[in-house]
Symmetry: C2
Subunit: 370 residues, 2 copies
C-alpha cells in the first residue's frame, strides 16, 4: 500500500507539474486571442522606396527606421528595405503598397499627383508651411486624419516619416534679376512648382535625378532645383552652373511619407502598430535633424569656394511667384472638388500658422546680431 | 507486470510531458541569459516631473510618453508619472533620478543650473538656437553625446523629450521703447535671461509659476515672462498686464528632457531601451507640434480682444540685449571651465546653423506675401 500510495502520489505530482507547466505558457495564448492576431508571429515585410540605392539621409533614414522597428520589437517584425528599381520602379511605390505587392513604401505624397492631386498638400506646396507648421497640422491640426481619409480608397495608411527642411532655389546658368529673366528658361522643376514656373513664362522640364547633372552641364537645361547644399554638393551641380539661388520657394519643407498596406496594417497586433507609429514619428525628427546638420556643414564648405555665387532671389521675383502660386492653386481647386477640400483645410491652418510664425520664429530670426 | 509496466510507462510519459512542458518555456530564458537581463520581467517604474499636476502639453506629454511606452512594450514597462510635488518637490527631480529614488524624470536642464551650470546649453540660452537647430545639434551634431558626458557623474542618462518652441517675450505693465525703460523694472525672469536682464538695469525676480499671476496683478512685479499664447492665456495674464511683447529672446525654444537613472537604464533589455529611446524622440516632435497648434489657436483668440496690445520689442532693445547676452556668456565661461567647454561646442554649431538658417528658414519666412 505504501508503494502504491507513493506511486499514486508521484503520478499526481507529475500530473500537476505537467498541467501547471503547460498552462504556465498560457498567458501569451490568452493575449493572442484577446487581440485576435498572433502576437508570437514574426512578420517579414518588404518596404520599397522612391530613392536611389544608398541615397544619403532619405534611403538611409528608411533603413534606420526598419532597424529601429526590429530592435523595438525584439525581431518580431523585420522590414527589408528596397531602393527604387531594386524590386519595382521608384514611382510605382504607391501602387505596390496599394495592391499589397509589398507591405510598406517610403517616398513623398506629391509623387502621386497624377493619381491623387490633393495628395500634394501632404508633402509640400510652393510658399506653403515649413516643417514646423506641417508637423503641427499633421499631428495636432487634423491634417493626418484628412490624409488617411484621402488614401483610404487606395487601402493605404500614411504616416509622416522625414522632412527635407526648407530647400534651396536651385542652380542657374545666369543671374535672375527680374521675372523677365525667367522667360523661356528651361528648368528642371517638377510638380506645382513647375506649374507656377510655367505661369511666370518659364519652361519646366521633367527629368529624373540621375539625368539632372548631365543635362545642366550640356546646357540641355538652363537651371535645375535639387534639394539643399548637402545633396547638391554630392551631385556636383556647382561644376555645371555657378548661380546658386535661395530660398526654395517651391519646396519649403517636403514631408516624406511612410505608406502601409491597409490589410497588412490590420493584421498586426496592437504593440507592433504602436511601435511602427512611434518609430515613424521618431524618424521624422531624426531625418530632418540630419538634413539640417549635413546642410549646414556643406554650406560652410561651399562658402569657402570662390566659384559658387550664393544669391537670394530678388524680392520682386519672390512676390510675383507667390502671387502666381495663389492663382495656380485657385485654378486647380476650381477644377477639382477633392483638391479644393484639402486646399481649404490646409489654408485655414496655414493662415493661423503664419500669424503665429510672424511673432515667434520669423520675428526671432529677424533680430540683428553683431 | 502488465500493470507495473503500464504505471512505469505512465510515469515516464508524465515525466516527459512535465520536462518538455517546462522546457517549452525555455527560449525566453535563453533570450534572457543572452542579454543578461530578465526579458520576461514587467518593470514598474516611477517618473517625477517639474510640472504642476495636469499641466497642459508638458505634463500631458510626459504622460502620453508613458502610455506609448506601455503600448509598444505590450505592458512590459509601466511608468507611473507624478507631477511636481506629488511624490517629491518639483525641483528635486534631478536629484531623485540621480540617487535612484525614482527611475525617471521630466523637466528641463536649466532647472539644475545651480548644480550643473553648463546644463543650461541643453535646454535653451538667450539668443540661442531654435528647436530645429537644437535637434540638429543634439541628434546629429554631437550635442547629445556631450550632454550624456556632462550628466554621467550624476548617474543620469538624458534624452530630449519635448520643446516649447520660440516663447513670447512676456507681459509688461508699460511700454518698452528703449533699454532705459528696463531700468529698475521688476520682472519675473529666471536663469541666464534674468542675468542679462539685470545687466540691462532690470531687477529679475524669482517666482514659482503658481505665484506669477497674483504678483503681476498686485503690482509686486512690473512684468513677467511665462511661455506662449496658449499657457499665458490659461494663466489669465492678460487680465494683469496689457503689453504682450515678442519675441522671447530669452527662451527661443526650450528643450525638455527625459532623465533616466543609470543603474535602472542598465537593467533594461535591449528592446525596452530601444522603445524608450524612440518613444522620447517621437514625443519630442509631438509635444513641439502640440505647442505650435495650441499657440496659433490661442493667438487668434487674443488678437480678437481689444484689451491686449501685442507688440514687438524695438530692434534697438533686442540688439542691446543680444550684445549683453554675449558678455554674460563670456563672463560665465571665464569663471567656469566646464561651462566654457560646452559653450564653445554649442557656439561652433550655432554659428554654422545661423549661416544655414539665414539662407533657408529665415530667408523663406522673410518673403512678403500679399
Amino acid at each position: 500500500m505504501l508503494k502504491t500510495a507513493f506511486i499514486r502520489s508521484l503520478l499526481f505530482t507529475l500530473l500537476v507539474i505537467a498541467v501547471v507547466a503547460l498552462t504556465a505558457c498560457g498567458p501569451e495564448d490568452n493575449a493572442d486571442s484577446a487581440v485576435g492576431v498572433n502576437s508570437n508571429k514574426t512578420y517579414h515585410w518588404k518596404m520599397v522606396t522612391t530613392w536611389p540605392p544608398g541615397f544619403p539621409v532619405l534611403q538611409e533614414g528608411a533603413e534606420r527606421f526598419a532597424e529601429n522597428v526590429k530592435a523595438m520589437s525584439n525581431g518580431r517584425i523585420k522590414i527589408k528595405v528596397y531602393a527604387g528599381g531594386e524590386l519595382i520602379p521608384a514611382l510605382q511605390t504607391f501602387d505596390a503598397v496599394s495592391q499589397g505587392t509589398v507591405e510598406m513604401g517610403h517616398g513623398s505624397a506629391y509623387y502621386w499627383a497624377g493619381k491623387v492631386p490633393e495628395a500634394q498638400f501632404f508633402s509640400t506646396v510652393p510658399f506653403g508651411m515649413t516643417p514646423r507648421g506641417m508637423n503641427a497640422w499633421l499631428y495636432h491640426g487634423g491634417g493626418l486624419e484628412l490624409w488617411r481619409e484621402i488614401y483610404e480608397p487606395f487601402h493605404v495608411v500614411p504616416f509622416p516619416l522625414g522632412n527635407t527642411g526648407v530647400q534651396m532655389g536651385g542652380w542657374f546658368n545666369k543671374e535672375i534679376n527680374s521675372v523677365d529673366d525667367l522667360q523661356g528658361l528651361k528648368m528642371r522643376i517638377p510638380g506645382l512648382g513647375g506649374k507656377v514656373f510655367a505661369k511666370a513664362g518659364g519652361n519646366p522640364v521633367l527629368l529624373a535625378g540621375s539625368e539632372v547633372y548631365t543635362a545642366l552641364e550640356r546646357n540641355t537645361i538652363d537651371a535645375t532645383e535639387w534639394i539643399g547644399p548637402y545633396h547638391d554638393q554630392r551631385l556636383g551641380l556647382y561644376r555645371a552652373a555657378k548661380h546658386y539661388y535661395y530660398p526654395g520657394w517651391h519646396e519649403p519643407g517636403t514631408v516624406l511619407e511612410l505608406t502601409v498596406n491597409k490589410r497588412a496594417w490590420d493584421s498586426l497586433p496592437a504593440d507592433l502598430k504602436a511601435i511602427i507609429t512611434h518609430a515613424a514619428e521618431s524618424e521624422n525628427v531624426l531625418m530632418l535633424s540630419e538634413m539640417e546638420q549635413k546642410n549646414l556643414t556643406a554650406l560652410k564648405e561651399m562658402r569657402a569656394r570662390s566659384d559658387i555665387r550664393i544669391q537670394r532671389f530678388p524680392d520682386d521675383v519672390l512676390s510675383r511667384l507667390a502671387a502666381m502660386t495663389e492663382e495656380t492653386l485657385a485654378e486647380e481647386a476650381t477644377a477639382d472638388p477633392k483638391f479644393k477640400r484639402v486646399y481649404e483645410a490646409y489654408e485655414a491652418f496655414r493662415q493661423k500658422d503664419d500669424a503665429w510664425t510672424a511673432i515667434s520664429e520669423k520675428s526671432y530670426l529677424a533680430i540683428e546680431h553683431d
